[in-house]
């Protein structure tokens, strides 16, 4: 899933400036799972903002709405009839949702209420860790299902580097060396010979090099 983290409320208040009719817009997907932008967080943010504006003796209308997704036309259309009632939207979906909402409602300012961080997994409640950077050319088959692009600080493709010590990364003793994990996993799979093979030069043109990416699937297009 896409993992996001809450923005400090002070930053959101600053973004909102003098707006007086604000819609807080949540998303029922990834940001709900990582407890940053779902229905519950919409309620918490709306309450905090109402309190703030009340203390400031400002009459600001704060409404709440949570869509199934903010990255699909059909769900974003659900608010079309009411968008005109607001002079700003705070989207607490990921950056995709914020942008898609802004594209759809072109004349309404849309502000981000979360920081979108990475694609990751829930290790335990309240702990999400990165697993994928969407480099566009998956090499997990060669690395025992552990991604050095997203999990190695240097994105080393033929690791470990000299900074790996006792299975930990030089950047932080709490960070496990991704290549240590790869080696252990290849051994467990009885594929340690794969480790001896040098990784071919990575083609970063499927990553961000070459500009924004798209996936076209003619077989599913209408």
């Amino acid at each position: 899933m896409i993992v996001a983290d809450k923005k400090p409320i002070e930053e959101i208040i600053e973004e909102l400036g003098a707006h007086e009719k604000i819609l807080i817009l949540g998303c029922n997907e990834c940001v709900t799972v990582c407890e940053a932008g779902g229905k519950k967080e919409v309620g918490i943010l709306a309450s905090a903002l109402r309190m703030y504006f009340l203390n400031q003796e400002r009459d600001v209308k704060i409404d709440e709405e949570t869509l199934q997704r903010q990255c699909d036309h059909e769900y974003l259309e659900e608010i079309r009839d009411k968008v005109d009632q607001y002079d700003a939207i705070v989207s607490i979906a990921c950056g995709v949702g914020v942008q898609f909402t802004a594209e759809k409602y072109f004349s309404t300012p849309v502000y981000p209420g979360v920081n979108t961080c990475f694609m990751g997994a829930t290790e335990e409640r309240g702990l999400w860790t990165e697993r994928c950077q969407g480099c566009g050319q998956c090499i997990l088959a060669r690395t025992g299902g552990i991604c050095p692009v997203s999990r190695c600080a240097k994105r080393v493709l033929n690791g470990p580097c000299g900074g790996s010590s006792d299975g930990k990364c030089e950047i932080n003793k709490e960070v496990i060396c991704a290549w240590q994990l790869i080696v252990e996993r290849l051994k467990a799979l009885d594929r340690f010979d794969d480790y001896e093979e040098l990784s071919p030069l990575k083609d970063w043109s499927t990553d961000r090099a070459g500009g924004p990416r798209k996936v076209v699937r003619e077989d599913v297009q209408p």
Binding site: L201, S205, D207, R208, A209, G211
Partner: protein, 289 residues
């Protein structure tokens, strides 16, 4: 008089682009540069323009400097992060290179190593701020330097580009000027009318605008640019002129010289002559100005 003094004195400067080799043999670059020694004020050494891998600008500039030639080193945002950019600026200044020109750098996808990752850790205003900081004796982390470098800083601006609005260009000039840019090099210019909307409104006292004069090599090249290069305008009359000339190369050289003469007369700060591979034609162009 050096490049900086000439720019400060508002004298017309002549820069010549000198591509470093794709390889370690620098003899041709050195020979071509030496042929016009004394006729140009400085050689601009591009930093892997069009994202094509070749010798670095720092290396090329140091080699030319060792032959007693003044250079402008280019720094692009594409290939280095903030550590490497600052390190190379210090290295350049330590080696006596004091003219730098900052550019964004084309995306690696356009070059000959299209699978490479672009860095773009810093944008142009940020890089300019970093240079300013170094000159004030501190790096980007705020740590004091053992000796501050001094630079004459230039950049590019899309003045005269047919696909850019003059307002945006003027805004760019203001922003980059405030960030420390002392001279601005434009894309190739073939028609004064293309740059007029910017040239009329720019603060000429404060801004040194240096158009690029590109040596056309053939009728085909002129037509290709006219049709496909968005930021360069080549008028039909110029294409017809090359078409009608008995010696097309000679005509192209004359066009370049003529453009330089016109720009000088119009009060521009100078020209950058780009010959892309035909650096041996520089003496002929310069002889006629």
């Amino acid at each position: 008089m050096g490049l900086q003094q000439k720019i400060e004195a508002k004298e017309f400067v002549i820069l010549a682009e000198m591509e470093p080799p794709k390889g370690a043999d620098v003899s041709r670059m050195v020979k071509n540069a030496q042929k016009v020694k004394g006729m140009v004020d400085a050689f601009v050494v591009p930093e892997m323009s069009n994202a094509v891998m070749r010798m670095s600008s720092l290396g090329g500039a140091m080699i030319l400097k060792s032959k007693g030639l003044e250079t402008v080193m280019q720094l692009n945002c594409r290939d280095r992060n903030r550590l490497a950019l600052q390190a190379d600026l210090l290295a350049a200044n330590g080696c006596g290179i004091s003219n730098v020109m900052v550019v964004k750098g084309e995306d690696p996808g356009l070059g000959d190593h299209h699978q490479a990752r672009g860095v773009y850790d810093l944008d142009l205003p940020e890089l300019l701020a970093a240079i300013d900081g170094l000159q004030q004796g501190r790096d980007m982390a705020g740590i004091e330097l053992n000796g501050a470098p001094e630079f004459l800083v230039g950049s590019t601006v899309e003045a005269g580009a047919r696909d850019k609005s003059p307002e945006l260009i003027l805004d760019d000039i203001n922003r980059l000027g405030q960030a420390g840019t002392r001279f601005f090099i434009t894309p190739p210019l073939f028609d004064l009318a293309a740059i007029e909307p910017v040239w009329k409104r720019v603060n000429r006292e404060k801004t040194t605008v240096i158009p690029t004069v590109l040596l056309l090599k053939s009728l085909g090249m002129a037509r290709y640019i006219a049709r496909n290069v968005n930021h360069t305008f080549i008028p039909d009359t110029l294409i017809e002129r090359i078409q009608g000339a008995p010696d097309k190369v000679r005509e192209c050289i004359e066009i370049a010289s003529e453009t330089i003469r016109t720009l000088k007369k119009e009060g521009f700060g100078g020209v950058q002559i780009a010959t892309i591979g035909w650096e041996d034609k520089l003496p002929e162009i310069l002889k006629r100005i």
